[in-house]
C-alpha cells in the first residue's frame, strides 16, 4: 500500500465506528423480507413510493442507529437493485429470491465484493442529495434527483464514487486522517470532482453551485471558497456512509464532535463471520421462531426468513411461519421434505407436530394451481410427437414442461426463440399482437381454415357460435347462432366476432342470414291475392276506366295483368260481368 505524499496524520479518535458486513447483510435480509411482504410501488423517477418508504423507516428505526435512516434505506435499496437482489416487475419492486439464494451461498469475501461493486454501479442511489447540511432547489414540484445542474446524475455519481475510492485506497492502511484534510487533498488533486473542469465548458464558467444552498440559507452558494461546504460534505457523506458500511474505512469521532477522521481498513477485516451454532433458532407450536441472530450466518437467517414474516428484528428476532411464505417457497422449487428437513435440523426445539402438519397441508395446496402469466406453448397435432419435433437441447435449455398430454409449456420470458428449437415450417403465433384473420366463410355457413393457422382466439369464437365438423371445418347454423345468443352473447356481438376472424368480408348471403337470425330484417307481410290475366290490353284499360273499379283493391302489374285481393274476387267478377268481359276460372287455383 503506497502512501500519498501529502497525507496528513492525526491522533487516534476517542470513538471508533467500524464497518460490519455481517450487520449489513442482516439488514439486507430485513429489507428483502419487507419488500417481499409489501412490494414497493415504484414512481416514475424509479424511487419507491412514499408509503413504502414510511413502512421501511418504521422497520429500520431500531436497526440503523449510527446512520441516517433515510440514507441508509436508500443505500440498501440502491445496492440491492444494482446487485440484482431486488428487481422491478409490474412497476413494483420484488425480491429476486433465486438471486438472493445464490448470493448467500457464496463465500463472505465474494459477497462483500459483490456489494461493493453494486455500490459503485448503483444508479438508483445518489449520495449527494443525502448530504444533510445542504438543500436543493427543485426544478419541478416533488422532483427528487432532477433538481439542479450541480446534482450529479447516475453516471457522474459513479465516477465520483470511483474517484473518492481511488483516493482512499492510496492511503496507508490503519493510519488516521481527518476528513477535512482528505477533502483538501482531493480539492487540489481533482478540483472538478463534482463540476468537471472542461476548459471553456459551461461548468467551468459556473460561478455558483446552481440550486444548492446551505440548509436554512436563502442564497445559492458561490463556488469560490465553498468546496468544503459542498464537495467536502459529499466526500464526508461517502466516507461516513457507503465506505464505512462496506468496510473500506473505519470512522473515528472525537469527544468534541467537531469533524471526524477515518482510516483505511486492512483487506480482510471487513468480512462477515460465516460460523454459527448448529441450532440457532427455536421453533414453537404457535409457529413463532425465535432466531438468535448473532449465532446465525446470513445464509441461515435468509433461509428461515424465506418461510416467515418478521415480527421483530433484533439480536433475538421473532419470526412467524406463514402459509403464504411456505407456498411461495414451494412455488419457487422448494419441497415439503426440504423445508421440514431444514427446520428439524436447525431448530433447538425440533419441529412441533402441528407445525409439520400445517406445512404439509400448505405445500399440497400450493401445488394445486399453476399459472403461467406469459407462456410459450408447443402444441402437437394429429400423430405428431413433440419429443421428436422440438429438439432436445432446446427443450432442456427452455425448461419446457409437459402439459395436457400433447403440449409443452415454458415461460415466454425464459424461453429462447422457438424457431431455434423447431423446423422452420411450423408456425409461431404471437399473441402479444393482433393475429391475422385466416378463417374462410361460405354462403352456406361453412367456416374453414388450415389447422396450423387456427389460433386460440379463432377457436374461442368458433366454439361459441359454430359447430365443429372436422379438424379444419366448422359450420354456423341458425341453431348454433341461437344457442350462443341464449347463452348471453348479443347477436350483434356474435356477428362482430365472426367478422373479426374471417379473412375477407363475410359473404353477402351469409351476412343476410346472420342478420335474419339476429332479428335485424323487417317482417314480410304475407297476403292472399289473385291474378287477372287479360288477353287484351284494351280490356285492362276498360276496367281501369270504369267507375265501379275505383273502389276495388287492385294493382295493375303490367299491360295485361292485374292483382286483386283474394277476398274481393266476387266484387271483381261482378264488375267484369258488368263490363261484359268474360271470365274463365283457372282450374289450378
Amino acid at each position: 500500500m503506497t502512501r500519498a505524499s501529502t497525507t496528513k496524520r492525526t491522533r487516534a479518535p476517542a470513538r471508533i465506528l467500524e464497518g460490519n458486513a455481517l450487520r449489513l447483510e442482516r439488514d439486507l435480509i430485513l429489507l428483502f423480507a419487507a419488500v417481499r411482504d409489501h412490494p414497493a410501488k415504484l414512481l416514475k423517477s424509479g424511487a419507491p413510493s412514499k408509503t413504502f418508504f414510511t413502512r421501511l423507516r418504521e422497520m429500520f428505526k431500531d436497526v440503523s442507529a449510527d446512520a441516517e435512516i433515510d440514507g441508509y434505506i436508500l443505500f440498501l435499496l440502491g445496492i440491492s437493485r444494482a446487485a440484482g437482489l431486488l428487481h422491478e416487475r409490474d412497476e413494483h419492486l420484488h425480491p429476486n429470491t433465486l438471486a438472493i439464494d445464490v448470493f448467500f451461498a457464496e463465500a463472505p469475501s465474494a459477497r462483500l465484493d459483490k456489494l461493493r461493486q453494486a455500490w459503485l454501479d448503483a444508479g438508483e442511489f445518489n449520495e449527494f442529495v443525502l448530504v444533510p447540511s445542504l438543500e436543493f432547489a427543485a426544478k419541478r414540484d416533488s422532483a427528487t434527483l432532477d433538481i439542479c445542474d450541480v446534482v450529479p446524475g447516475a453516471a457522474r455519481m459513479r465516477d465520483i464514487r470511483r474517484s473518492v475510492l481511488a483516493h482512499v485506497e492510496k492511503l496507508e492502511a490503519g493510519r488516521w486522517m481527518r476528513s477535512d484534510d482528505f477533502s483538501d487533498e482531493i480539492s487540489r488533486a481533482q478540483p472538478g470532482l463534482l463540476i468537471p473542469n472542461t476548459g471553456a465548458g459551461r461548468f467551468a464558467a459556473q460561478k455558483f453551485y446552481t440550486g444548492v444552498r446551505v440548509k436554512g440559507d436563502k442564497h445559492e452558494l458561490p463556488r469560490e471558497g465553498n468546496w468544503p461546504l459542498v464537495e467536502g460534505a459529499l466526500i464526508g457523506m461517502l466516507l461516513r456512509s457507503p465506505l464505512l458500511l462496506l468496510g473500506y474505512v473505519d470512522i473515528g469521532v472525537d469527544d468534541e464532535g467537531e469533524g471526524f477522521a477515518f482510516r483505511l481498513r486492512g483487506a480482510d477485516t471487513a468480512l462477515a463471520d460465516d460460523t454459527e451454532s448448529k441450532q440457532p433458532f427455536a421453533l414453537q407450536a404457535n409457529f413463532e421462531v425465535l432466531a438468535f441472530v448473532p449465532e446465525m450466518t446470513p445464509a441461515t437467517l435468509w433461509a428461515i426468513t424465506r418461510y416467515c414474516s418478521v415480527v421483530s428484528f433484533a439480536d433475538v428476532a421473532t419470526l412467524k411461519i406463514e402459509e403464504r411464505h411456505i407456498a411461495h417457497a414451494i412455488n419457487e422449487g422448494g419441497s415439503f421434505t426440504g423445508i421440514v428437513a431444514f427446520l428439524e435440523s436447525r431448530s433447538k426445539t425440533g419441529l412441533p407436530q402441528n407445525v409439520r402438519y400445517s406445512i404439509e397441508n400448505w405445500a399440497q395446496k400450493a401445488e394445486r394451481v399453476a399459472i403461467y402469466l406469459d407462456a410459450c406453448l408447443f402444441e402437437a397435432e394429429g400423430n405428431e410427437d413433440l419429443s421428436k419435433l422440438v429438439r432436445e437441447p432446446y427443450r432442456k435449455r427452455a425448461a419446457l414442461a409437459p402439459l395436457a398430454e400433447r403440449h409443452l409449456v415454458g415461460s415466454s420470458n425464459a424461453t429462447p426463440d422457438p424457431r431455434e428449437g423447431i423446423a422452420p415450417r411450423y408456425p409461431v403465433l404471437d399473441y402479444s399482437r393482433a393475429l391475422a384473420p385466416v378463417l374462410r366463410a361460405s354462403d352456406d355457413g361453412l367456416l374453414s381454415c388450415q389447422s396450423e393457422q387456427a389460433n386460440f382466439r379463432i377457436v374461442q369464437v368458433l366454439a361459441r357460435i359454430a359447430k365443429q365438423e372436422s379438424l379444419e371445418r366448422w359450420r354456423i347454423t341458425r341453431e348454433t347462432f341461437g344457442e350462443a345468443v341464449r347463452k348471453g352473447l348479443p347477436p350483434e356481438r356474435a356477428i362482430e366476432l365472426l367478422r373479426s376472424i374471417v379473412a375477407h368480408e363475410l359473404p353477402a348471403a351469409l351476412l343476410l342470414k346472420l342478420q335474419g337470425w339476429a332479428g335485424r330484417l323487417e317482417p314480410v307481410i304475407l297476403r292472399r291475392t289473385a291474378l287477372l290475366e287479360f288477353q287484351q290490353a284494351e280490356a285492362v284499360e276498360l276496367l281501369r276506366a270504369s267507375a265501379a273499379s275505383r273502389n276495388l283493391p287492385m294493382r295493375v302489374l303490367n299491360a295485361t295483368t292485374v292483382e286483386v285481393e283474394a277476398d274481393e274476387l266476387d266484387k271483381v267478377r261482378a264488375v267484369l260481368a258488368d263490363l261484359a268481359i268474360p271470365v274463365v276460372e283457372d282450374s289450378h287455383s
Binding site: R89, E323, R324, A327, H328, I330, N331, W362, K365, A366, E367, R368, V369, A370, I371, Y372, L373, D374, A375, C376, L377, F378, E379, A380, E381, E384, L386, L389, V390, L403, A404, E405, R406, H407, V409, S411, S412, N413, P418, I422, Y426, P427, V428, L429, D430, Y431, S432, E452, N455, F456, R457, V459, Q460, A463
Partner: protein, 65 residues
C-alpha cells in the same frame, strides 16, 4: 405442430379446482381454449387477473412469470 407465444395458461390439479379458480376471478367466459379439463389457455391479462384474484382470496398459486 404450432407454437403459441405470449399466452396465459392455468393448470390445476383437477377440473373442479380449475373451475373454482376461474370462478374466483370471474373469468369463466374469458377462456380461449381448454387443452384438458384441468388446463385452460387465456390471454395474458386474464391470467394475471386470475393470479391476482387467487392471491387476494388467500390462495397461493404457483405463478410463473
Amino acid at each position: 405442430m404450432k407454437v403459441h407465444k405470449h399466452v396465459g395458461v392455468i393448470e390445476a390439479a383437477d377440473r373442479q379446482t380449475l373451475e373454482e379458480a376461474l370462478a374466483i376471478a370471474a373469468a369463466q367466459h374469458e377462456v380461449l381454449c381448454f387443452l384438458a379439463p384441468n388446463v385452460a389457455v387465456l390471454e395474458r391479462e386474464t391470467a394475471r387477473k386470475v393470479a391476482g384474484a387467487l392471491t387476494g382470496a388467500g390462495m397461493h398459486p404457483k405463478v410463473v412469470e
